[in-house]
Amino acid sequence: MIFNIDYETMPREGLEAIQLRRLQATLERVYATVPFYQKKFEEAGIIPSDIESLQDLHKIPFTTKQDLRDNYPFGMFAVPMDNVVRIHASSGTTGQPTVVGYTARDIDTWARLMARSLAAGGATSGDIIHNAYGYGLFTGGLGVHYGAEKLGASIIPVSGGNTKRQIIIMKDFGPTILTATPSYTLHLAEVAEEMGVSFRDLKFKFGIFGAEPWSENMRQEIENKLRIIAVDIYGLSEVMGPGVAIECHEAKAGLHVFEDHFIPEIIDPETGEVLPYGENGELVFTSITKEAFPVIRYRTRDISTLSTEPCICGRTHVRMTRVSGRTDDMLIIRGVNVFPSQIESVLMQIDEVEPHYQLIVDRKDNLDTLSVLVEVGERLFSDEVKKLQDLEKRISKDIKEILGVSAAVKLVEPKTIARSQGKAVRVIDNRKL
């Protein structure tokens, strides 16, 4: 189902005309109300009226995560606090948290975009949504929540954690849609199995997963274990939260970016040069309808590709490929760029391997070393040493062939790699650089 048929299937010329008008209005507003943007524009020698076409957007400087941190907590807000009705913040695990605000209208816009997203992922007003995204400062839980209400579906605000209780709720309430991070979903599947609950007996039809990078192989694993159709959702609090882009369940081939609200670009992360559609690079977003916290050319550090190829679902909005990694997750191992997601793809090509792995990077005698820990589940285990050693060799060889980097593969006992309730810790970098 398409929630907003007029806007989501609008011919591109019309869409671009709307984008330009909204962009110009946003630039005028941030220039007048946010000292940070005014200073940035002046340093670049431009004023908002210089932007006469969408291409002119390239003239405007980027905004980075550091810029948001420098203006902690409310320095980037474009409206008085009186008009702000909600505050969210990203986790500060890698530095100062970034704080974002919403006006009442922003909350409504977000709810509408999340309603579009849930509908694209297969939900209707008749569905019951089991929402296992965390509620709180993190935008996942409340983002889905408001969207589900806007769609008219029934929402179970179960949030993250207390997994056994979640399984009981799934059994008793019969939810038909699951929203969660992909790693927590696999954890749910494990716990359900331990409790003797089969997803065959549950009512789930669709799942909408995001908030962390995942792979096509993980999708297949989730679809098989949960017997659902799984789609990818994208968003980040700095741009809005979940609902910036969504995969349609009809095609499951890239996420439609809601271009009537956001302008996406792909740039070369090294040079900042804008890359044409089809090329892989860093995603940059400009919000064109947000009131409290507009962002202009915000560098997400997420790696993706954009495509305007028509989609079978009828939506005309550009599609981004699933995020394949982050510019700052990128490991440089002996000069080779390695994304953890690439290693995951290699592992998931091997039938017996479950997606429980961890990468450990070290530096010994001035040489980088990469170890890949892989848990030995029942399907992988053999009573013969040679078979296990052959498997280790095969993984090493595949990684070497596909990524061009040598890795020491080490088999470890099940459940020794930490399972997180939310985001999975996939990389431990012990190098002191």
Partner: protein, 143 residues
């Protein structure tokens, strides 16, 4: 004529084997025979126990990876050339031994050899044709 063996994946760190034997002892499972094959970073513990099902349940509960395979138990007389004769029979029949280990039959000096074959049924047939005493699983569990 087959014997069920359980095998366990262990990382090479101290105390892991003791951990497994403790889990089994607490569950009242008796170990009849045990062998370890190890490499620099992992090991495979192979066990013949008196209650395979119970062993599997209690180990899995403790997140231990358990595999099950069938092996062949053969009685070897305590006299020179006892094992050599059996190996000769297997070699002649072109039967490849994946691995083997032994234990001494309680209250005797006779050894019991455990063999892991890829072609298990053929091995049992060949051994019996050559009058080797192949011991039944139920008997081994009770030894």
């Amino acid at each position: 004529m087959k014997v069920e063996q359980i095998s366990i994946f262990l990382e090479n760190k101290s105390g892991r084997i003791a951990e497994v034997t403790r889990i089994l002892a607490e569950a009242g499972v008796n170990i009849r025979a045990l062998s370890i094959a190890d490499t620099s970073d992992f090991g495979i513990l192979r066990l013949i126990v008196d209650d395979n099902q119970k062993a599997e349940v209690v180990l899995k509960k403790q997140n231990v990876t358990v595999g099950k395979t069938f092996v062949v138990a053969v009685e070897v007389e305590d006299k020179p050339g006892g094992l050599h004769r059996i190996m000769g029979i297997l070699f002649k029949a072109d039967l490849n031994v994946e691995y083997m280990y032994s234990f001494v039959k309680p209250n005797t000096t006779d050894a019991v050899m455990i063999f892991r074959f890829e072609q298990l049924d053929k091995a049992v047939k060949v051994l019996k044709e050559n009058s080797v005493n192949v011991i039944d699983g139920d008997q081994v569990y009770k030894l």
